[in-house]
Symmetry: C3
Subunit: 215 residues, 3 copies
């Protein structure tokens, strides 16, 4: 009964849930990072500001680069609303609950691939070719966290050795762009990219894969 | 005689004076901050660069986000000229004169509200709704100083606990957007927003209101 | 034989070689800077990311500010390709070879003027006047390195006292804009600007001209 009901939910609704879930998780994570920052003493404005930058920065960077009207995050107010609720929650709830941290990582792992797909798909729609579409996919996925880091006076964490985060985003874009090219199916390509990058992200964490220092 | 003459000055001229005054004060303040910076040893280029970023960065960020032609600061050369004169002055005059500092704070307090109104008004004109218009108002008002901070390798000061600066800008935007909605009068709404945020800013300084650490 | 062949190469081809050479040198230099960074431990992603920002950041900043379609670096994939090859090379070859360092400085000195010209020319084409065109010329020339510095958590090096780098870029723009205005010859103005700024850059290095601390 329940499963058959689930099956009738259109896949685009699932994508939408992951999309807003990713924005929400980004804002919550951004707010937590601001509260835990040891170098600066952020107030309400700083926590909300860094939450919004974390949640929406990647998509805004993508849209500014594509130069195709105001960013989606400003036009479709739901993004801003979800980010503000996430930031407000991140301002108030305890950021030490282990289950919340784990849930955040899970939602983020799902959204990482979808954000990369959204960036690459928008780039293709703007007439760009494979390589720029790949770059914009990665930018969309890791841009929010990177801008938050820059606005916290430090280099983006995805640039430093450690977990292979940007590489997973690049993998999602490559899977999507390849599937899109050969299958020509937007939804299937998206699902394939999100699923494979989710599994890859979980694998990198499970097996503690780390990137090497380049020197 | 003098007063009656004053009364014949159109209110838009008053706004224009505040607008350019704010750009000038922003450039002067940016140049002073660069000269006083203890971490970096800025030269002529650094002082002028940070002066221009301080003075024009908020409006440029707003226009880049709205994606509606080149930024006003590049199209209307008067903005760039005023900012360059302010920067050049900030490079040469003593930055320790108390009266100059106080004048700067006063002009900045007036311009803060007008910048927020300019951001929100442009956002409305671009078809955005209340919440994005509020965000763009605050971005316009605090964006210049924030970008200067980021280009100085640190987090925006408006994100740190201390004087409630961004909140005053947000108040100006809310007053403007509410007045605009109910009264439908652009000039009256602007005057109301600028006056109320000016008073609020003076009050926060007079009573030493501070924001709290969020942790 | 060889010389006569050289003379038949159109000047625009020479400019194109300098242009891509500058992008290549920018990426190589950015990768080297990332590998030598003492504050952060960059991995493959960081080196490539900072290489791309160094190589393409100035032109992207210019195009985002001009608000005239997606950045050239995303539309014309050759830029991205050249930057990625430069970054990949910068990741692998030894960054201590003196001849390579010297070659980098030479190519960069040639490209500096051309980048400034490209920025000013695009600004003129967008209908902007002298002063904004000068600012965009300098932004294009020094923007990549500056953004790399900001993304490395520090102030742009061109803002600090030392070699007069941004001033040489400004000189190239002024020469170009003046020549363009009086001679009305795009190619001659470009050649004049690139040659004079190249000589000026070499002179500043040869005679160790330094800018003064502004305090």
């Amino acid at each position: 009964m329940f499963v058959s009901h689930l099956l009738t939910i259109p896949i685009t609704t699932v994508f939408s849930v992951i999309d807003f879930g990713g924005v929400f998780a980004g804002a919550l994570g951004g707010a937590f990072a601001a509260r835990e920052n040891k170098r600066y003493q952020y107030d309400f404005v700083g926590v909300m500001g860094l939450a919004l930058i974390s949640a929406l920065g990647g998509g805004v960077a993508r849209d500014v680069l594509l130069n195709h009207g105001p960013p989606l995050a400003l036009v479709d107010t739901r993004y801003l609303l979800v980010a503000m609720v996430g930031g407000a929650l991140g301002l108030t709830v305890s950021h030490k609950r282990a289950w919340l941290r784990r849930a955040l990582v899970g939602v983020d792992a799902l959204a990482l691939g979808l954000f990369a797909v959204a960036g690459s798909a928008r780039a293709l729609a703007a007439g760009l070719s494979f390589l720029p579409a790949l770059l914009l996919g990665v930018t969309t996925a890791v841009g929010g966290g990177s801008l938050r880091d820059v606005f916290s006076g430090r280099t983006p964490q995805v640039f430093e050795r450690g977990e292979p985060y940007a590489i997973v985003a690049a993998a999602a874009s490559v899977v999507f762009l390849t599937a899109e090219h050969w299958l020509g199916l937007g939804t299937a390509a998206t699902a394939l990219a999100v699923a494979s990058s989710f599994i890859l992200r979980l694998a990198t964490m499970r097996f503690r894969w780390k990137t090497h220092l380049a020197r």
